[in-house]
Amino acid sequence: MKMIIQELEYQNIRRIGALKLSFIDSKGNPIKNNFIMMANGTGKTTTLGLIKSIFDGTADHLKSKEIESLKPLNKNVERGFFSITVKFDDTIYKYKLAFDYINKKSTFTCTAPSLTGGGRELSRRFPDSIKDLFTQEFVRRFVFDGEQATKVLNNQSNEAEDAIKYLYRLDEFDKILFDNNTILESIQNSEIGRGTDQSLKYTRTQKDKLKKTLNNLRSKEKQLNLNLTDLEDVQADLDSKIGGIEKKFTDLNSEKNEILSKINANKSDIDNVIRQIMNLSKKPCLISPAISANMYDLGNHMTSLKLPKSSSKDFFLQLAEQEFCICDRRIDDGAKKAIIDNAGGYLGSEQQSVLNIIKNKLMQSSFDERLNDEFSKLKKYKTKAYKLGQELENIQNNLEAAGGEEIIRAKEERISNLEKIGETKATIKKLVSKDINDEDLTPENNICKAQKELEILDGKIASKTKTNTALKKKQVMEKYINCIKDAAIKRLKETIIAKTNNKLEKVITDDLIKIERIENYIVLKNKDGASEGQTLGIAYCYLGTMFEDAELEFPFIIDSPAGKMDYTKRRAVADIIPTVFNQLIAFVTSTEVEGFANRFYSDMNTKFVTITATKDETLMHEGIDFFDKYQKEHREEN
């Protein structure tokens, strides 16, 4: 069975007024690779959600809140719809989900030539051979996102094993086992006339009761597995949220550190400039032109002192020989003696030289802008310090907002969610345990024990109704089917591991990544985990192998296929995808073009569509040119 998506059509869905995305060429042939780049907020996630809900049946019971969220905000419209046209081999099915925004209701219709009532039915219909296939579990394997991809390596998840089960339809063996049981019961019921005694009635009542218990246990297991999937989704959301906050936190921290280092550098600049100011302040002439002028005058004045060349002692000795002092008083003998005695106590040649230096300095003192320049620098640095201080304050506020209560709350939620996952897993483990020696397990809380008990009761009933032969045949068939199922799972795992490892060699060339075994999740050889990019690479190789070998040829509809893969891995994955998927419909962001979508530029069987939005409308642009131009202009935004 080959399934091809031919068209998606929107009317009045969020920001989209009317839009048709066709995945067939003018001759009606399917286009193998389709890249749709939707501008932020134009409805990429909504589209993926609607596709999933139509295929897995959840569209049948959309909540009024979900319908309300699809209503365009800027338009007063009453109705809208989303439809998918699918070709199964040669038959076209159209699934339409119509929305009544007034009454917040949705209506699902399916149109196909083979259907009754003029080919239109108000329910989800698929070709008979795959009608039971479209469960939530199955659909999420071909309507895919990066989050789902990471689960294959998550030891909290059964994704790797479940993917095998659902893509290879191994659950069909469980259905055979169910039919096997039903047939025996029907034989035994038809033989009821053969045994009407009280003990048979009692055994039948016991069996009915036990069957009810077993059904409840199975329903419980199914529900718990669904709960577990939901809890794992919540966990992935929380991890992503915490990761986002922590990333923001890290960014803010690095910004803070950057500011702190700027503050330190600025402080050092301020210290240097103050030191420089202190040095320059030793030259008062630099303080102002007036001081400089006064100093020059002083120096100039000092030249008129006309001090003797040799020393001031000589001056006083010469003076003592004079009749009159320089103050015009007569120098008598007493004065003469006093001058000669004290001549040495006044300025000597050393002092003279100092005076001369001062004089010279004063004479050379001239104003320039050096000190003012330093003060200007200081002012600039002070302003910078103020701004940096404000930036630091802002960043600290942001840090509190980013890493404060929100992250604490998210982490608390994560712990609580992890506990719930643990409890759910423990309950599932108890339900499905095959440890017959575990005394805590009873037919009331364990599927295996209930089955064993049921077998005993079956034996009793068979004996009383003389249907031992039918029971034996049922048991033989059960043994055969289980044997085939186990062998199929084992062989499929071995083959998938070998093929995936071959692909991994081409995709991850910078590290030795090999799958060792599949044990609910993928266990890597000699590695505890892989980087985000590696995980995506492993997931595609794994899923690619399964799609390649699966019985059904399905389209692969994916949101953000390249994610955080580096360019080398992107290129390798881009080369592998066309060989393993029947049809690729990839909703990409502008950052995923380089090294991924642009690998398909020369491929003739590839379509490129860009959806842009203005305030009032959404526009569709087909072709590589716009696609490439748009991604170059907008990749920074993402």
């Binding site: 009608k131 096997n180 034996k472 083959t495 019985e551």
Partner: protein, 59 residues
């Protein structure tokens, strides 16, 4: 069934069963058809009847 591995492993496993060649072929065919959604309830009933067991129900 398009998957060759699954086809092969089913055939290989059925071959080990202590049944007649005819039954083995019927079982394999039934499973193939089952995967194609091309079987009826009576097909399975017929297959069950073909299993050879000791008749020990007292008449």
């Amino acid at each position: 069934m398009r998957n060759k591995i699954l086809e092969h492993v089913i055939r290989e496993t059925i071959d080990t069963f202590p049944e007649s060649e005819e039954f083995k072929q019927m079982l394999e065919q039934y499973i193939q058809n089952r995967f194609k959604g091309n079987v009826s309830d009576s097909d399975f009933g017929f297959l069950l009847n073909c299993i050879n067991v000791t008749e020990d129900d007292p008449q």
